[in-house]
Structure formats: structure tokens, C-alpha cells
């Protein structure tokens, strides 16, 4: 029979030509004004703070007036920060930034319509946007230093107080956070699979308990589930459970409800024709699910499940309501323990940084996986021979 051959020439990958056209001195001016504004404000401020922190200095009389005395751990660091913010150099930096920003905004925005190439217009508009950001940040810093930056810095940015709790307990807390979230997510995936299959049943008797479960766990606060779950075991069943285990269990049960909805959506997103084809070959419902539907659905639910995992990492903070032993402390419990020892909230700032260390790579990974999955079915099937 006639064979229609596909074009098998290798796809030529060639970057498209740059059609944005040349730039102009005018549009470049707008762009550099914007860049200058934001550089003055951000770069200037950071450089000043670093300069104050790193050069040899002593506690100034004004700092001592602010009760930043030598007895306070880290007082010098806080003092330097405040002195830098309130220095006249900082004032100059901020005013220069605002001036550049205002010029960039008005100039860039007013010439944008007259720009005759795409590149020129983008440069003009980008300059205006950067200028706006520079002005905004400068105004925030101005307002901040008129308030009580000394009190704020002493309580939230005094990283010297963390010393005894770092790095050992801190990284152990990060590890516990990851363990809690990982076990919770893994258990939740198993529970969610079962619930998803039940909630897709055509029989309301099978569907009803799954829906009730999902609605209970999606409809109540996680913090209530943690507290109640603990007392259900302690009082209701007269078991004295480890709070860490209870937390893992509740996280799994809670994540199960959300994962069930993710799986259900994933399965329902597979075209009807797939199950019809499988059934018409004589496969049972479960065989069709296992060999045709679920392998395709899994690929589609990986990004939303990873998002759930990121959310769960942050939600592990709620175990503080249960109270944990020192070795079980996750990041938030670590911060709270440190804060109650030292009466300093910088621990929470450090905890936030700890969460970011874990979540940022994961968020990047989710985005990369999503891009890959979206780039085509062949890629999903792993069809590179």
C-alpha cells in the first residue's frame, strides 16, 4: 500500500533573527536613569551598611542613648546598622536615587510613544519602571529610618544572639522540617491515591466516605487537626503518642485530602477515549487504570503534588502547638525556643531564611518540571530513542 513517509530530516534548530531594531541615545538615557536610580538606592544602602559593619567602630553615644549598651550581645552590629541608615551619606544616596528615578519615570514614559523601534520603546518603558521601583524603595527606607529602626534591628536583625543555637541545632531543625514534610507528603500520596479512586466511583456508597474525609480535612484548619488529633489519641484512645509521630500522621492525613483532589483532577484530565480504547481491548476497569490512565495521569500531577510539598514544608511550622523535645524541633519550634530563651525575635528571621533555603530550590525545580512537561507529549513519554 502507499506509504506516506514523514519528513525525517532532522529539525534544524536556529535562533530567529533579532528584529527589535537599534537603540537610540534617548531611549538608552531613560534606561540608564532607571538603572542608576535603583542602583543608587539599593547598592548605596547596602554598601553603606556593609561599610559601617565591617570597618572598626565603637558604640556611639546616640546608640547608648537608645539602650544599645555594651552588655547586650550584638549591640555593636545593631548600632552600626542604625548609624549607617541614619548617616548623611545614606540621605544623599536616597535623594539621588529619588531624583534619578523621577527623571527616569517622566522622561521614559513621555518618550515611549515616539520610539520607532521595539528595542527603543522597551528601553524607555523599562527605564520608567526601574525609576518607579527606585523611588518606591527609597521612600520606604526614608520612612523606616524615621521610625525606630534601632528597636526593630535589635529584635529582628541581631544575628549575634543566634550564635549558641547555630549551626548544629539550626540544621537539625531544617532536617526535622524536611523529614516531617517528606513523610507527610509520602503518606498523603498513598492516602490520596486511594481516596481519588473512591471519589471517582460511580457508586455513591463508595464515594460518600471519601468525599466526607476530603471535605473534613480540607474544610478545617490544620492547626485544629494537629491539636485535636493529639488529644483524640491521648484521651479518646488512652494512648500517649510521640508528638512528632502525631504530627507526621496528621500531615499525611491532611495532605491525603489535597492529594486526592490532585489525583482526581489528573485522572479526569485524561481523554475519555483512552479508557474506552483500553476497555474495548478487554481490559478490566482496574487494568485500564493501571496500564493506560494512571501512567499518563502521574505525569500531569507531578507539578501540583510538588507544589503541595512546598506548602507542606511551611505548614510544618504548626507543630509548635504540640510542643516538641529539643531534638525533634523543626525550624519554627527552634525559633520559638531560641526566642523564649533570649527574648529576641531574630530567630524567626533566621527561620524564615531557613525555609527559603529549602523551598527556593524546590520552587525552581517545580517550574523546570512544569516547563518540561508543557514542552510536548514526546518529551513526557521519554520518546528519545
Amino acid at each position: 500500500m502507499a506509504e506516506v513517509t514523514l519528513d525525517t530530516r532532522p529539525l534544524v534548530r536556529e535562533a530567529p533573527p533579532d528584529t527589535r531594531g537599534p537603540s537610540s541615545p534617548q531611549s538608552l538615557t531613560a534606561l540608564w536613569l532607571g538603572i542608576g536610580s535603583i542602583a543608587a538606592v539599593l547598592g548605596g544602602t547596602i554598601a553603606l551598611i556593609l561599610n559601617y559593619e565591617l570597618s572598626p567602630r565603637v558604640l556611639t553615644p546616640s546608640c547608648i542613648d537608645l539602650q544599645l549598651t555594651r552588655e547586650i550581645r550584638g549591640a555593636l552590629g545593631v548600632c552600626n546598622f542604625v548609624e549607617a541608615l541614619r548617616s548623611s551619606a545614606e540621605t544623599a544616596v536616597l535623594l539621588i536615587g529619588i531624583a534619578l528615578g523621577v527623571v527616569a519615570m517622566t522622561f521614559g514614559w513621555s518618550i515611549r510613544g515616539r520610539m520607532d523601534t521595539l528595542r527603543r520603546r522597551e528601553q524607555a518603558i523599562t527605564g520608567a519602571i526601574l525609576g518607579l521601583q527606585g523611588v518606591f524603595i527609597a521612600l520606604v527606607i526614608l520612612a523606616f529610618r524615621e521610625g525606630r529602626p534601632d528597636l526593630f534591628a535589635k529584635n529582628f536583625l541581631n544575628f549575634a544572639v543566634i550564635g549558641p543555637y547555630f549551626p548544629g541545632p539550626f540544621f537539625s531543625a531544617i532536617k526535622n522540617t524536611i523529614v516531617l514534610a517528606f513523610v507527610g507528603e509520602a503518606g498523603g500520596i498513598v492516602i490520596g491515591m486511594v481516596l481519588a479512586v473512591l471519589s471517582l466511583s460511580t457508586r455513591s456508597a463508595a464515594r460518600a466516605p471519601a468525599r466526607a474525609y476530603i471535605n473534613l480535612f480540607r474544610g478545617t484548619p490544620l492547626i485544629w487537626q494537629l491539636a485535636t488529633g493529639y488529644f483524640v489519641l491521648l484521651l479518646g484512645f488512652d494512648i500517649r503518642p510521640s508528638t512528632f509521630l502525631v504530627a507526621m500522621g496528621i500531615f499525611a492525613l491532611n495532605t491525603g485530602a489535597y492529594a486526592a483532589e490532585v489525583f482526581r483532577a489528573g485522572i479526569q484530565s485524561i481523554e475519555r477515549g483512552q479508557i474506552e480504547a483500553a476497555r474495548s481491548l478487554g481490559m478490566t476497569y482496574l487494568q485500564a487504570m493501571r496500564f493506560a490512565i494512571v501512567p499518563q495521569a502521574i505525569r500531569r500531577v507531578i507539578p501540583p503534588l510538588m507544589n503541595e510539598f512546598v506548602i507542606l514544608i511551611k505548614d510544618t511550622a504548626l507543630v509548635v502547638v504540640l510542643g516538641l523535645t529539643t531534638s525533634q524541633q523543626e525550624l519554627f519550634a527552634w525559633a520559638r525556643a531560641g526566642q523564649s530563651d533570649t527574648f529576641n525575635a531574630t530567630f524567626f528571621t533566621a527561620a524564615a531564611l531557613g525555609y527559603l533555603v529549602v523551598t527556593l530550590p524546590l520552587i525552581r525545580l517545580v517550574n523546570a518540571v512544569e516547563r518540561r512537561l508543557r514542552s510536548g507529549l514526546v518529551g513526557i513519554a521519554g520518546a528519545t530513542p
Binding site: 506516506v4 474506552e276 480504547a277 483500553a278 481491548l281 478487554g282 505525569r299 514526546v378 513526557i380 513519554a381
Partner: protein, 256 residues
């Protein structure tokens, strides 16, 4: 409501392979099939034509119970397959179906698309399943595409793999649901060629199609389905030459 040409009585010793008996189908309160009677002997090809929305596809899907008839019975190989005690999975291994949208499993190669049911449903071992699948791929001229994924095949090639997948189960009856409608025009011929060859080899087939040339030449019988009923049934050549109902006349004047 309409004159129905009666088919010649089958020889008494030959049982029909499939018989649909007063089949009605409602979707909600939409009465899609309104009393369908179909009877097909082994080796016959029944082409089903008619305007869209007339119930052709539903009729076909009622044959292997992808849609369960609301009323009426379907007999296949002397078994009432509308009886809820009937093992439909076993029945469907004897009744292949090919779809408009191919419905190949996109995560499997052409070969695995065929072997998966052979291994999991018919319980053949790897080597047997592979041999049988390769034989069917050869049959549709695609043995060199065994390791390609559906996304790497043209529409016509995908549809031929889908036909091979159904044939590998050694069905007694093949159902074709507008299998060329989603294809680019230049790819229709290769699929119709496979189906024509299959008919010549004696496969019993029910074919919903818009390809009137195919219907005329390959069909043993043709039924014209409109408004959920079989408005006319007969030999394709006679029906094309001499339509008995106004509705068929109108339909033919539009599609020919």
C-alpha cells in the same frame, strides 16, 4: 414511521454473529436511538451512514456496550451481552473497535500499544505477544515503526497501529467509528486500504463512515441512520442508485 427494506432471510442454519434487538438509548432525556434492529452474518460488512447527530456512533458503541442500551438486547455469538451477568471484558476481546481519534496510548510505543492487552488480557508471554504484534504491524505495513511513539507517527500511521492493536486480539467482529474523519485527506487512503483488505479477508465489520466510495464498494449492507432509527437498509449499490426515502435522497444529494 418509515419504510424499511427487509433484508433477505438468512439461511436457517447460519446464526447471525451479532444481532441488535429493539435497541433504544437515552442520554438524559435525549432519546438518541429509537428502536434499532441490526443483524450481521459472519463475513459481512455493514456500513452505517447518515447525518451527524443521527445516532450512528451511539449505535456502534451500543454494539460493544461502551454505551449500555437503555432498552433492547444485543446478541453476540449467541450470547445476550446486555445481560448484566455477562462478562463484558471477555466479550470485548472478540470485538475489536477502532476510534475516530485513534486513542493510542501515548506513553507506549506502537509495539507496546499492541502487546499490552495481549499480555495483560490474553495472558500471552512476552515472546508470543511480540510475535503476534509484529505480525499485525506487518499486516498494516508498519513493522518498521514498532518502536515509535504515537506522537512520532502521522495520523494515518497511528490509525493503522490502532487497527493492528484491535486485530491482534483475533476478534470475530470489528467496529470502525468514523476512523478516517480525523485524518488529513492525503492519509485517508492508506487507512481505507487496510480496511478494504480486511474485508476481503472475510472479517465481519460494522463501519460508521462518511466515505461514500468505500461504503458503496466494500459494504455488504448499508444502513442509513437518521433521527435515531434505521431509515433505510439495503445493498449499498442499490441504495445509491435508487434511494427509497426522501431523507436518504436528500442526504445523498448533499454528500455525493
Amino acid at each position: 414511521m418509515s419504510e424499511i427494506r427487509s433484508a433477505p432471510m438468512p439461511p436457517p442454519d447460519e446464526e447471525p454473529l451479532i444481532r441488535m434487538d429493539g435497541v433504544h438509548k437515552w442520554f438524559g432525556d435525549n432519546h438518541v436511538l429509537r428502536g434499532i434492529d441490526v443483524s450481521l452474518e459472519p463475513g459481512e460488512v455493514e456500513v452505517i451512514v447518515g447525518p451527524s447527530g443521527g445516532g450512528k456512533s451511539t449505535l456502534l458503541r451500543c454494539a460493544n456496550l461502551l454505551e449500555r442500551p437503555t432498552l433492547g438486547k444485543v446478541w453476540f455469538m449467541n450470547e445476550d451481552i446486555t445481560d448484566i451477568r455477562c462478562d463484558l471484558d471477555a466479550v470485548r476481546t472478540k470485538m475489536g473497535m477502532v476510534f475516530q481519534q485513534f486513542n493510542l496510548f501515548p506513553h507506549m510505543t506502537a509495539l507496546s500499544n499492541i502487546t499490552v492487552a495481549l499480555e495483560k488480557v490474553l495472558r500471552l508471554n512476552d515472546a508470543e505477544a511480540r510475535d503476534r504484534a509484529m505480525e499485525q504491524l506487518q499486516h498494516v505495513g508498519l513493522e518498521h515503526k514498532a518502536d515509535s511513539y504515537p506522537g512520532q507517527l502521522s495520523g494515518g500511521q497511528q490509525q493503522r497501529v490502532a487497527i493492528a492493536r484491535a486485530l491482534a486480539m483475533t476478534p470475530r467482529l470489528m467496529l470502525f467509528d468514523e476512523v478516517t474523519s480525523a485524518l488529513d485527506p492525503e492519509l485517508v487512503g492508506e487507512v481505507l486500504g487496510v480496511m478494504r483488505q480486511l474485508a476481503e479477508e472475510g472479517m465481519t465489520m460494522m463501519v460508521v463512515t462518511h466515505e461514500m466510495g468505500f461504503a458503496r464498494e466494500v459494504g455488504t449492507w448499508m444502513v442509513f441512520v437518521d433521527g435515531g432509527v434505521i431509515a433505510e437498509r439495503g445493498r449499498p449499490k442499490e441504495m445509491f442508485a435508487n434511494p427509497q426515502t426522501d431523507r436518504l435522497r436528500q442526504f445523498l444529494s448533499k454528500v455525493l
